[in-house]
């Protein structure tokens, strides 16, 4: 055998025993022989045998050798293979190693090895089946989750899912938009301090209100109501009216536990079927509807009750006219009453009808749309569908419309097509601007030069059903305009030889603009959900005891005019991003330029790229810090070289009255904890080490993002070093050399 095999210790023991026994046996035999002989015979025999003793020991030695050989053979065939088989089976049992055992030794052992092999094969097959099942289940869950996320993000209603502590687990784009509109510091934190995974819903809603709704949901659940939902209307601090519908999220019931191997399952450990795991809030901002409804009600009341008095006056006066004994002077006075009241009533009806037109048309499904979006869509379709060249398209970039965009686009296309077909117009232009005739109207112009249209032509175009190529619409331009409560006419400018169709359309108000600006600028589907939070327990423990994995972090960075806050250097930009459950929440960011109210040193501009023009008109640090404070509320702060940034924040504490008192972690120090042997712990160096792509370096948000990526990768490495809690991380960081650097 080529392989060296260690000799079984039992073999040596057996050999030793055999040697001992044979020697004792030999000596006993000799003693027995000697005992039977007389002393003279004994001497004679000794004289004869004595010289041959060497031969005796040689044969004894040969005998022992034969025994050793036999024992070894015996062991090799009967004992060692089963010992080895046992060891190898141990490996298979205790580890994930999969291999075929080689049958050797006697027939029984070989048979055993084959049985082991079969068992292992069976185990592997089961394991694979199990893995496949787990994978399939995970895929299904993932699919369900993304389907849910897709569904939610397409909803025009705001949806927020919370656990029982009121922490947000899931929300959709609409909710983000709506919360932004509710935010009291909309220009800064942009509502990000109100909505975010892991944030508390109670920053928006009164805790008692939610508790009350939860209670009634729970009561309904217990009564076994089919749809145990609750509704409430609340006004926010920003004065908006919200209608909120609450639906319970039930905890998943334990599957009926079969009596498993001796596990003492008490019935009480099974989850009661009505247990709540959290709740879903569906929010509608009904401020606008409410206002419109109030106007409608006033209008209806004005028309009914307001007219009653006038009618009463008239009716009474007319009935008086029937009396034959009426004096002429009095008769004239009664007639005057009737004339007077009829006139007043006519005016009232006139007023109401114009108001009614405005109020009732708002029931059309009009949507808010950015004017430039409408124009670019119209321009594209005019060029593609009609082959007309678009000369110019100018729009007020901040103008929002409240329109039904499809029919407006159709009207523009239809009119352009007729210009092309009937007057051979080859170029048109589009123009959109606020109307001079009213704050809430916008002028949309379709402009061409050359051909002059008669009023009759315009009229007929206005009332012809719209037809573009083979596509026909039942609507006319006039109906489209009426639908918007707008107006339509032709204007011409003789000086420039230009003419245009003008649409007067409703503009949207500022509130709605904000809603949609944010809606439009987040086209991608964000990573909003994090169901793991259902498992988060109330954070009653002191933060230091909390595992890092359970904390939420605000990773931030500042750009400054220089390196000496004590000597008047100021923050000019702050960027921050949140990290929750080891994940970077790229959608929940804080990004704000700050007016330093001082000169920006020209030599620093190449570093941060922020020019004095860029900070002009931006808020000052005293306005920005409260927003950052709100954004970072309830989280642990993380920064690279945190001492530097913290120093800038701390110097403003007295002025703002806001202290950033939460714990702080420094990625520079944590990197030094994890990789004590490395020379550099600059952000670039660490990023390179972790293979983090650096984009937008030296913008506050860019650096905050890189820092956050680095931080996320540091967490598992810290865990390997036995650093699991916040307290351990802070302690370790403190002990590193770099902790002594003070700014």
């Amino acid at each position: 055998m080529a392989r060296h095999q260690p000799t079984d210790k039992r073999l040596l023991w057996l050999l030793a025993v055999a040697a001992l026994v044979s020697i004792v046996w030999l000596l006993f035999t000799l003693w027995l022989i000697a005992a039977t002989l007389t002393p003279p015979d004994r001497a004679t025999v000794w004289a004869l045998v004595g010289p041959s003793l060497l031969l005796v020991s040689l044969t004894w030695g040969a005998g022992m050798g034969a025994i050793a050989w036999g024992l070894k053979r015996w062991f090799g065939h009967w004992v060692t293979p089963s010992v080895q088989l046992a060891e190898e089976a141990q490996v298979l049992l205790r580890t994930d190693v999969v291999r075929e055992l080689r049958p050797k030794g006697n027939v029984e052992t070989k048979e055993l090895a084959k049985l082991f092999n079969q068992l292992v094969a069976q185990r592997e097959e089961l394991r694979h089946q199990m893995q496949d099942k787990v994978r399939a289940a995970a895929r299904d869950i993932e699919q369900e989750k993304s389907r849910l996320a897709a569904l939610m993000s397409e909803l025009t209603q705001s949806v927020v899912v919370c656990n029982l502590d009121g922490r947000i687990l899931l929300y959709n784009n609409r909710a983000r938009t709506q919360f932004r509109a509710l935010s009291q510091s909309p220009r800064l934190a942009d509502g990000a301090e109100l909505i975010g995974l892991g944030r508390s819903i109670y920053t928006v809603f009164d805790r008692k209100l939610v508790a009350h709704a939860l209670e009634s949901v729970q009561q309904r659940l217990q009564r076994g109501v089919a749809q145990p939902t609750a509704q409430f209307v609340t006004s926010t601090r920003a004065g908006q009216l919200l209608r909120v519908q609450m639906t319970p999220v039930r905890s998943v019931a334990e599957p009926d536990a079969a009596p498993v191997l001796g596990a003492a399952l008490e019935p009480a450990t099974q989850a009661p079927p009505l247990q709540l795991a959290g709740f879903v809030l569906m929010l509608d901002n009904i401020t606008r509807e409410f206002e419109a409804e109030a106007v409608r009600e006033r209008l209806v009341l004005g028309l009914t009750e307001g007219s009653r008095a006038a009618l009463a006056n008239m009716r009474a006066a007319i009935e008086m006219l029937d009396y034959p004994d009426l004096e002429p002077a009095l008769r004239e006075r009664f007639l005057a009453v009737v004339r007077d009241e009829v006139q007043a009533l006519s005016e009232r009806v006139q007023r109401s009808s114009s108001q009614a037109a405005e109020v009732f048309q708002s029931r059309w499904p009009l949507e808010d749309m950015l004017g430039t979006d409408l124009l670019s869509a119209a321009g594209r379709r005019i060029e593609e569908t009609l082959g007309l060249a678009l000369n110019q398209s100018e729009a007020d970039p901040n103008l929002w419309l409240r329109i039904e965009s499809f029919s407006i686009l159709q009207a523009l296309l239809f009119l352009s097509a007729r210009l092309r077909d009937e007057f051979a117009i080859r170029h048109v232009s589009l123009r959109l601007r606020p109307s001079g005739q009213g704050v809430d109207k916008a002028e949309l112009d379709l402009i061409w030069s050359g051909a002059t249209l008669s009023t009759e032509t315009v009229m007929s175009w206005e009332i012809d059903p719209m037809r573009i190529g083979s596509e026909a619409s039942a609507l006319t331009v006039r109906e489209v305009v009426d639908r918007h409560g707008g107006a339509f006419w032709l204007e011409r400018d003789r000086a420039s030889n230009q003419a245009w169709f003008r649409f007067l359309l409703p503009a949207a108000t500022a509130q709605e603009q904000l809603d949609n600006a944010t809606f439009v600028h987040h086209p991608s589907r964000p990573e909003y959900y994090d169901f793991d939070l259902f498992r988060v327990s109330p954070r009653s423990q002191a933060l230091d005891e909390v595992p890092l994995a359970d904390l939420s972090f605000t990773v931030f960075d500042t750009e400054t005019t220089g390196l000496n806050p004590a000597e008047g250097d100021e923050i000019i930009q702050i960027g921050a991003v949140r990290v929750l459950n080891g994940k970077l929440l790229r959608q929940e960011v804080f990004d704000q330029l700050v007016d330093p109210k001082r000169e920006i040193p020209p030599e620093s501009i190449p570093i941060h790229g922020i020019t004095p023009e860029m900070v002009q008109g931006q808020p000052g640090i005293l306005e920005v810090l409260p927003a950052l404070h709100a954004f970072a509320a309830d989280t642990v702060l993380v920064a690279h070289n945190a001492a530097f940034d913290m120093r800038f924040l701390q110097l403003k504490e007295r002025q703002t009255g806001l202290a950033f008192e939460q714990p702080v972690l420094d990625t520079l120090l944590l990197s030094a904890v994890v990789h004590p042997g490395q020379d550099s712990h600059r952000l670039e160096a660490i990023a390179e080490r972790f293979n983090v792509t650096v984009i937008g370096r030296h913008t506050a948000l860019g650096d905050a993002m890189v820092t956050a990526e680095v931080f996320v990768r540091l967490l598992p490495l810290l865990a390997e070093k036995g650093i699991h809690t916040l307290g351990q991380a802070r302690g370790a960081a403190q002990r590193t050399y770099f902790a002594r650097i003070q700014y």
Binding site: R308, A309, A316, D325
Partner: protein, 124 residues
């Protein structure tokens, strides 16, 4: 002696008709143009019946009604409310505050005359 009537309304156009109508029925008619004037007139003239509008300046008909009913001395005064507020809730409120009858505008003058006559009779 003929019964005394107080007609309270802020609109001269209805006062004219009502005054003519009630005088023609032979009542002694007095006029008031708002809630405060009405209360003063009621206290001074002790009318048998008040035709009271609801929507008026200074004091509404509801308030006038309430104050009259609070005064034990004016117990005998009948109040007929005339109002443009025609909802069930308004009728209920008027009656709850002590009006003896309630007519919504516009009303038929014939019915009004009939109603007034009935109320004055039941007063006796």
């Amino acid at each position: 002696m003929n019964p005394t009537l107080l007609i309270v309304d802020d609109e001269p156009n209805i006062l004219l008709s009502l005054e003519f109508l009630m005088k023609r029925e032979g009542y002694q008619v007095h006029l008031a143009r708002d809630g405060v004037e009405a209360l003063e007139a009621i206290a001074a003239l002790r009318p048998d019946l008040v035709l009271l509008d609801v929507m008026m300046p200074r004091k509404t008909g509801f308030e006038v009604c309430q104050e009259v009913r609070a005064d034990e001395a004016l117990k005998a005064t009948r109040i007929l409310m005339l109002t443009a507020k025609g909802r069930d809730t308004d009728v209920a409120k008027g009656l709850a505050l002590g009006a003896d009858a309630y007519m919504t505008k516009p009303f038929s003058t014939k019915e009004l005359v009939e109603k007034v006559r009935q109320m004055l009779l039941s007063n006796r």
